[in-house]
Symmetry: C2
Subunit: 162 residues, 2 copies
DNA sequence: AAATAACCTAGTAATATACTAGGCTATCAA
DNA sequence: TTGATAGCCTAGTATATTACTAGGTTATTT
C-alpha cells in the first residue's frame, strides 16, 4: 500500500468520472485542465486504470472515459493499487533470514497495519462521493450542461482550506 | 497525507522503540541491521522524528533512542507527517482560480478523503502494537536479554505472506 | 583515555514522477 | 468521404524524491 500524488491524481480523476457517470464520457482533456497535469501523463494513468477494469474508453468525438463498474464496486484502494504499484513491504523479501537467520518483528507489525489501511480504503467507494451534499447542490444548479462544466464550481470559504 | 517507503521505515522503527520502551534506548545501528537500510539515512529520519518530539536521543555508550511521549500519545499519522512532508493537495494552491476563475470539485472531494485517512491513521497509536499477542509471546520468552535481540523472532508460516 | 552512539553536513547514486513529442486508430459529423 | 476528435501507444527526457556514502563533531559511559 503506497500513497503518492500519482495515486491522488487517479483518485480525483475517478471521482470526476463517478460524478458524471450518467451523463456520458469525460475527456482526459477536461480532467487535464482541471487537475493541472499533462494530458499524456493522464493517458498513461488511464491506461493502467483501464487494464484494471476500472474505466472504459470511448473513442471518437463525444468520447472519453466512463467507469468500468458501478460506483459502489470501485473502492479507493482499487484505484490506488492500480496505479501505485505496491512497495516491497519487508525489504528482505525473498531472503527469509533478513538478520541472522531470523525475521524482524516490526515487519510483521507493519503488515498488520498495512492490511488495516487497505481494509479502510477498500471500504470507501466512489459511491460515497456522489452522495456528497455539496455535489447535489451543484448538480441541481447546472443540470442540463453539467456534463461539460460541472467539474468546476465557484470558490466558497469551505474550499480554501487545504 | 503521503505514504511511501520512507514513512514505513519511520513507522516500523517507531514500533521497535515502542516495544522496548521500558527496557532502555534502542540504537539506530540495531534498527539499521533489522530494517536493512543505511545507518546514516536512519539518522536523518530520526532527526525529523526528534524535532517533532516523537523520540528522545540518548548519547554515549548504552545510549540510543527512546520514545518522546507515551505510546498511546503517538499515532501512525504523527510519524508519517513528521518524515513524509505533506503533498500539495490541490496542485493549484495559491491561485484560487485553477480553471477559468473557478475551482475543481474533485479537489474538494480529495480533501474530504484525505481528512478521513488522516483521522483513521491518527486513531492508531503505537500502544496498539505493544498489545499484540505475538509480541507478548516473544517478550516472555526473551525477557532478560530482550533489549538487544527481541526485535527479531523466528520465522513462522504466518510471517512469510507479504 | 577510549569507546560508543547521537548528531550534523555536503555530495551523489538510484529511482520514481511527470512531462514532451511523436505517431496510430476508431468514431462521429459535415 | 473527409476532417476533426479523442482514445491509445511508445520512446525519450527533465525533475524530484529516495536512499546512500563519507566525512566530521559532541556528549556520555566504562
Amino acid at each position: 500500500m503506497k500513497l503518492s500524488t500519482k495515486g491522488r491524481y487517479a483518485v480525483t480523476a475517478m471521482m470526476d468520472l463517478a460524478i458524471h457517470d450518467n451523463e456520458g464520457p469525460v475527456t482526459l482533456s477536461d480532467i487535464s485542465s482541471c487537475q493541472g497535469i499533462s494530458l499524456s501523463y493522464l493517458e498513461q494513468l488511464f491506461s493502467m486504470l483501464r487494464k484494471a477494469g476500472l474505466v472504459q474508453g470511448v473513442r471518437g468525438p463525444g468520447g472519453g472515459y466512463r467507469l468500468g463498474k458501478t460506483p459502489n464496486q470501485i473502492s479507493v484502494a482499487d484505484i490506488i493499487t492500480a496505479v501505485d504499484e505496491s512497495i516491497d513491504s519487508t525489504n528482505c523479501k525473498g531472503q527469509l533470514d533478513c538478520n541472522k537467520g531470523e525475521r524482524c518483528l516490526t515487519h510483521h507489525l507493519w503488515n498488520e497495519l498495512s492490511e488495516q489501511l487497505l481494509a479502510f480504503l477498500s471500504s470507501i467507494t466512489l459511491a460515497e462521493f456522489i452522495k456528497d451534499p455539496e455535489i447535489k447542490k451543484i448538480s441541481v444548479r447546472l443540470d442540463g450542461t453539467a456534463h461539460r462544466i460541472s467539474t468546476m464550481f465557484p470558490v466558497t470559504s469551505k474550499m480554501i482550506m487545504a
